[in-house]
Amino acid sequence: MGFRAAVITFPGSNCDRDMACALELVSGTAPIRVWHGDAELPDNLDFIALPGGFSYGDYLRSGAMAANSPVMRSVIDAAQRGVPVLGVCNGFQVLTESGLLPGALMRNASQNFICRTVPLIAENTQSAFTRAYAGKGTVHIPVAHHDGNYFADEETLDRLEGDGRVAFRYAEPCNGSRRDIAGVLSVGGNVLGMMPHPERAVEDAQGGTDGRLLFESAIAALV
């Protein structure tokens, strides 16, 4: 049986198809597409992806309303059972708003929407999402966001660093994020939220393939 992944679509998601294409390209199996209003997730999932976009038009706060949509109760249950959950960009915002990851994503310090490829360092190469980054040094993955400025209090930041939960760090200042944090893992390591878009760097036609390593890691972790 192939890699059984689900991609959740919220009203206003716009990277859901990219995410599904990337998962199919790397795993060989098309993921199941799930609508946010579905209260139940398919059974026996190997992987859940919350894509980028502008769920609910970013009204109130980015990700705030999506975090309270029916499907998120099932996503939270699955995450607590250890199912790998990846949230990219708006997906990361949904994960912090839902409480699955600590901190918050605030307006970029520059006030500008930032859309470019950025250098990243995988700080933790032991997680199910990042093992393939071991020894790779600086990698390059695109960002495209207005609210990517990671904030958490100093105590939380120290705990994240001490526990190896900073998955990715910008190799140069990007959006004002505390300690240049670009991606954060949950306590159990099975939930990853990140602002950069690995699904936009999986084949040469996209200008780089450094994002592919993330999906390869996740698939290899299940074997």
């Binding site: 109130l60 705030a64 309303m65 901190g103 307006r107 310090a109 400025n149």
Partner: protein, 82 residues
């Protein structure tokens, strides 16, 4: 009952919007502005008798993000009183 909720960034949380507005006010020649913080106001019509617990829960679970924001709840009037 009308309820007005003010959501503000917690002290110590950098406010890039406030900083940009402060910079603009300085640039326009307004003097004496020492700090600018931008928050959000939410007005709701709720049933008379809606409990403080319910209002607090709405704020904590959705209207404010307790990681970065504080809120205050002000009850303005009961329906028809205006």
């Amino acid at each position: 009952m009308k309820v007005r909720i003010l959501v503000r960034l917690k002290p110590g949380v950098l406010d890039p919007q406030g900083r940009a507005v402060h910079h603009s006010l300085d640039g326009m020649g307004f003097e004496g502005v020492e700090d600018v913080r931008i928050g959000r106001m939410i007005e709701m019509d709720v049933a008379d008798g809606t409990s403080d617990e319910a209002l607090n829960s709405m704020c904590e679970k959705l209207l404010a993000n307790m990681v970065i924001e504080d809120f205050t709840i002000e009850k303005l009037e009961t329906a028809g009183a205006a």
